[in-house]
């Protein structure tokens, strides 16, 4: 094994461990803040639509659904954010994350036909997630069916004796040990120690901010190191998917690439220039994107291993189920499958002639509507 690969693996594992510690620190910070404050804090997402839009906005801001969903897992795990409030935010994160590859498609803006294909490749992900939210969001809000499935899944996990769900598991103990060490260092700083004793809420806010910065930094580093390790495998996978021309195999490739790099944006952003150049059709890239949508949910499941409350695992499983069900609803039926692809193609045809429309689309869908919505629903 090359020295560079060993270095990348060491960094990836270390940052993953630090990421789990950051989730634990977030949980600790939120608990320190106290219920009366946190209840007020999350009152704004008590409306499911507001929650959905907050999820979109937060993810657009951090450019990573994994950061949003992991933070939500931490908040749910600390017990301050209920499943009911968290679910729409996670659904919003699914939509928000699609902005990254849409921005990548702007790199092809100089050439009309290339931009048309690249923009369609990126926005089919937007339309797919919007379609799934339109179908599943009201169903889950009114029937709680996916939530119940996720709760059942959590019970199954616990019953199976899976060590990460056990409060005294080696994984949880290792995370607690790391978090305690960081807190010890934190408390050894006189200023922070004073804050902890005299103004614990300010101390909690500092801890929460630090935890969120750590989550963001660690995930970014896990992704970049994993990408370095997996580059050849990604190329190999894409070659195979290209040869097979789509289908279930392409979904599997999308899942595997995304799990290996811990980022759906990496997978979908790689697809944009490939489709833009015309060597992969929008239709054949679609299943890889769907696979990426499923693969990205693994990060939240990993994050749930860091929290004590099993609700953290339930929200992570809800994320998995929501994205898997979305694929099961949309992909098997050609007529349904064609909806996001055709919508993306129609939009890209319009934007190819008037490219400012693409910019307007991003600003309206990912910024204006969520911002206005949050204001209106509150």
């Amino acid at each position: 094994m090359k020295l560079k690969t060993i270095k990348n693996i060491t960094f990836a594992v270390s940052f993953l461990y630090l990421f789990l510690i950051a989730i634990k620190l977030l949980e600790t910070g939120i608990k320190t803040l106290g219920e009366e404050y946190t209840d007020q804090l999350f009152e704004s997402v008590s409306n499911p639509f507001a929650g959905l839009l907050v999820g979109i906005l937060a993810t657009v801001l951090v450019q990573s659904s994994s950061v949003t969903t992991s933070t939500i897992v931490g908040l749910v795990g600390s017990g301050v954010l209920s499943l009911e409030y968290a679910i729409p935010i996670v659904m919003g994160a699914n939509i928000g994350t699609t902005v990254t590859n849409t921005l990548v498609s702007f790199g092809h803006v100089r050439r009309e036909q290339e931009f048309k294909r690249a923009f369609a490749a990126s926005t089919m992900h937007d339309f797919f997630n919007l379609l799934v939210v339109i179908i599943l969001f009201p169903i889950d809000v009114y029937t709680n069916i996916i939530t119940r499935m996720a709760e059942y899944g959590t019970e199954m996990f616990i019953a199976s004796g899976f060590s990460a769900t056990n409060p005294n598991s080696p994984i949880k103990n290792a995370i607690k040990w790391g978090a305690n060490k960081i807190l010890d260092v934190f408390n050894s700083i006189p200023f922070l120690s004073d804050l902890n004793e005299n103004s614990y809420r300010v101390y909690a806010v500092v801890l929460i901010v630090l935890a969120i910065i750590l989550i963001f930094t660690c995930l970014k580093n896990v992704v970049s190191n994993m990408k370095s390790i997996m580059l050849n495998q990604i190329e190999f996978g894409l070659d195979k998917a290209l040869a097979k021309g789509g289908g279930l195999f392409a979904i599997l490739i999308g899942i595997l690439i995304t799990i290996s790099v811990q980022s759906s944006s990496i997978t979908t952003s790689i697809l944009v220039p490939i489709v833009g150049s015309g060597i992969l059709s929008v239709e054949n890239a679609f299943p890889i994107t769907l696979g990426a949508n499923i693969g990205t949910t693994v990060t939240a499941v990993l994050a749930s291993f860091a929290v004590d409350n099993i609700a953290g695992l339930t929200i992570a499983l809800h994320h998995v189920l929501f994205n898997v069900l979305g694929v099961l609803i949309v992909y098997p039926f050609k007529a349904v499958r064609n909806i996001p692809v055709n919508l993306a193609k129609s939009l890209s045809a319009a934007t190819a002639k008037r490219r400012y429309v693409a910019l307007l689309y991003v600003l309206i869908v990912f910024v204006t509507i969520p911002l206005l919505g949050v204001v209106i629903f509150n």
């Binding site: 580059l231 050849n232 990604i234 190329e235 190999f236 894409l238 070659d239 290209l242 790689i270 697809l271 944009v272 220039p273 490939i274 150049s277 060597i279």
Partner: protein, 210 residues
């Protein structure tokens, strides 16, 4: 940069050269021996299609490589692969042109230039194989030798074409022979161009005189 995908592109370029050698041999055998043209036609065109398929595969591989390695991309290397694959593909096209000379009933199997044509066949065939080894070895001095040899060959072919045009040389099929030399020259020129892509800076590829 990922070594594996670059290796894959190089191996496809090498396969293109193997197929080009095959096409060149088929076309030249039709012109320089009693080969049954109808019996080898399908083989020649199938080989040409195979070269085109490999050419497209090289381009696809480069796009995938660029998309995956967007941050550490060796752009000059990919540009050299792009130009090299185009030059190799053109060798196949000129082999088809040589075959078309044979198809029109012209044969150089006998006559006063037959030995010279056989030598030319052997030299150019060796140059294609030599290019293949330069590509895999990435050896600057070997590649420079090939360029020098190629330049000498094109100069000699130019002289023969000029002699034919000035009618200072007599031959049974003057038009076919002129075309024959011309196509040989184009094949050698593409070998030279592909060689420059291995060792020269991106902006100087194909421009030996500068």
């Amino acid at each position: 940069m990922s070594k594996d995908s670059i290796d894959l592109i190089e191996s496809k370029l090498s396969q293109m050269l193997t197929e080009s050698t095959r096409m060149y041999d088929i076309a030249m055998n039709c012109l320089l021996s009693d080969t049954n043209i109808d019996a080898v036609r399908d083989d020649l065109y199938a080989t040409d299609k195979e070269i085109n398929k490999l050419h497209k595969a090289v381009r696809r591989e480069m796009i995938i490589h660029s998309a995956v390695h967007s941050r550490n991309l060796d752009v000059p290397l990919l540009l050299s692969f792009m130009t090299m694959s185009k030059d190799i593909e053109r060798i196949g096209d000129y082999c088809k042109n040589l075959f078309e000379i044979a198809e029109t009933g012209n044969t150089f199997a006998k006559g006063e230039h037959a030995d010279e044509f056989q030598t030319l066949k052997s030299d150019v065939g060796k140059m294609i194989i030599y290019l293949q080894s330069c590509l895999s070895l990435d050896d600057e001095s070997k590649t420079q030798d090939l360029i020098t040899l190629g330049q000498a060959t094109t100069k000699s072919l130019d002289k023969k074409i000029t002699a034919l045009l000035n009618k200072t040389v007599e031959t049974q099929y003057p038009v076919a022979t002129t075309l024959f030399y011309r196509y040989q020259k184009r094949i050698v020129s593409h070998i030279i161009n592909a060689s420059t892509a291995i060792i020269m800076p991106t902006d100087k590829i194909d421009y030996l005189d500068e």
